[in-house]
C-alpha cells in the first residue's frame, strides 16, 4: 500500500527533514508514527498525499509513484486517502455538515447518500447535533473531531491521522482510536502520528519511530 525507498525531503537546500527513509506498510495495517516535535512526522505524512513533493528517492502510494505522478492524478490519489490534519483545515465559512460533506461532493455523490453518510460520520464522533454550526463556533476538540469525521466519511483506502487526539481528553481519545481501529478492521490502512504514550500503550500496534527525519522500528 505504502512503500518508501530511500526517500529524502528538504524544504531548504541542505537541511534534510526526511532522511533516507525506507518503509513498507501493507494494505490493512495499523501503524503509529511517533517522534519528538519537529522530527518530521507531519512532513512524512504530507509526502504521502502529495502535499509536498519528495526531494529524492522512490515512493509508491496506492499504486501511484510519488516521484513521477502526473499533477492531474494527484486529486484522484488524494480521494483514496483520508487525512486528519494537525491543524484541522476546516472551511470556516461552511457548516460542519458541509465540511464533512466536501469529500463526498468531490466524488459527485448524490445528495441523499451524502446526507446519510455525513450524519453517520458526525454521529460517530459525537457531533451529530452540531451539523448546522460553523467551525469557529466549536471547541478545539470538537473541531478536531469534525476533521476526523471528514477523513473517515468515505471509508478511504488509506487514513493518515496527524495527532488526531491532541485536543481531546483521554476518554474521547480512546473513543476516537476505537473509530480508527474499527475503520482499520474494515480494510483501511491507518497511519497515526501521535505523541500520546498512553494510546501507544493501550493500543498495541506496529510503531514507527522518527527521529530527526530518520525512521526506526523497535523490535
Amino acid at each position: 500500500m505504502i512503500q518508501l525507498y530511500h526517500v529524502y525531503k528538504s524544504y531548504q537546500k541542505g537541511a534534510n527533514v526526511i532522511e533516507d527513509v525506507s518503509l513498507n506498510i501493507d494494505r490493512g495495517e495499523f501503524v503509529f508514527l511517533v517522534g519528538a516535535s519537529g522530527a518530521g512526522k507531519t512532513t512524512l505524512l504530507k509526502l504521502l498525499f502529495c502535499a509536498e513533493p519528495i526531494t529524492s528517492g522512490q515512493a509508491m502510494v496506492n499504486n501511484h509513484s510519488l516521484a513521477k505522478i502526473n499533477p492531474k492524478d494527484i486529486p484522484y490519489l488524494r480521494r483514496s486517502i483520508g487525512v486528519v490534519f494537525q491543524d484541522f483545515k476546516l472551511l470556516n465559512n461552511r457548516t460542519i455538515f458541509d465540511n464533512v460533506a466536501i469529500t463526498l461532493e468531490i466524488l459527485g455523490m448524490n445528495r441523499n447518500d451524502i446526507r446519510r453518510k455525513v450524519t453517520k460520520a458526525l454521529k460517530r464522533v459525537g457531533l451529530a447535533f452540531m451539523e448546522g454550526k460553523y467551525p469557529l463556533e466549536l471547541s478545539g476538540g470538537e473541531q478536531q473531531r469534525v476533521a476526523i469525521a471528514r477523513a473517515v466519511v468515505n471509508s478511504p483506502s488509506i487514513l493518515l491521522a496527524d495527532e488526531p487526539t491532541g485536543n481531546l481528553d483521554p476518554e474521547l481519545s480512546v473513543d476516537i482510536m476505537n473509530i480508527l481501529t474499527d475503520i482499520n478492521a474494515m480494510g483501511t490502512t491507518v497511519l497515526v502520528a501521535t505523541h500520546d504514550k498512553f494510546l501507544l500503550q493501550k493500543f498495541m500496534k506496529r510503531t514507527i519511530i522518527i527521529n530527526k527525519g530518520k525512521v526506526s522500528e523497535p523490535i
Partner: protein, 299 residues
Amino acid sequence: MILKKLPYFFRKALSNIRYSMLVNLVTISTISVAILIFSTFVMIIFNLTNLVSRFEDDVHIVAYLDDEFVGGNENIKKNLLKLNGIEKVWYQSKENALKVFKESLGENDLFLKDIQKNPLPASFELRLKEGYKDRKNIEAIAAALRSMGIFSDVSYGQEWLEHFHNFMNILKVIGLAVGGGFLFAAVFIISNTIKLTIFVRREEIDILRLVGATNSFIKAPFYIEGLIQGFVGSVISIIGLYFLYLVFMAKVQTLSLLGVNSTSMPFLPPKFLILLVAFGTLLGLMGSYISLGEIFKRS
C-alpha cells in the same frame, strides 16, 4: 461531466456568495461602478453619433447653372435625378435667387440700390440619399456634376465638410482612446477586484485541493460566482446609468440648454443594454478565469 455538475456548482456559487456577503457586495459594487463609467461613455458616444448623423442630414449639393447655358431646366432636373445617390432636386431661378438674397439682407441692402443687372446665377439644389452623405460619395457626385459642363460652380460646403471630417477624425481618435482606456480600466479594475476576492479565499482553495478536489471542481463555482457578480454588477450599473440619465435630462431641461430633450438625446436602446450586461457578465467570468489561473499557477 462538468456540465452534469452545473446545478451543484451553481448552488455552491450561490452559497459562496451568501457566505462571503461582504466581499461580494464590495466586488459587485466595484464592478457596477467600473461598468457604469464605461456605459456612460458608450451612451455619450451613442448620442454623439446620433447628433452627427443629424448634421449629416443637412448635407446637400448646390450646382450653379452657367449664365451662358440656355435650355429647359426640367430636362436637366431629370438628368440629375438619374445620377447615383440623388434623392431630390430643386430648381432656383436667377430672379428667385435675387429675391431670396434681398430678403436675407433685410434693410442693409446698401449695395443693391444701384444694381442694374442680376449677378446671381440660377441653381439646382440636390438632396442626397441615405448612405451617400459621406465625403467620398459627395465628391464623386460633385465631380459628375462638373463633368456635365453646364454648371459654373458646384458647391457642397467643401470647407464645412473638411472641418466636419477633421472633427470626426478627432472624435474617432479621442473616442477610441478614451473608450479603449475606459474598457481597459474596467477590465483591469474588475479583474483586480476579483483577484482580491479570490485571494481572500485562498485558504479555502488550498483545503479543497488537499482533500482531493480537481482544479475544475474548485474553479467552477468561482467562475459562476464571477459570472453572477458580473451580471448583477452590470445590471446595477445600467439602473444607475438610467438614473443618471434622468437626473441629467432634468438638469439640462431646467437650464434649457440647446433644446436638448429625450428625443434628441434618447437613452441607450435595449440592444446596447443587453450587450453591456453580456459584456459585464463576460468580464466577471474572465476576471475569475484570469485570477484563478494566476493563483493556481502560484501554488
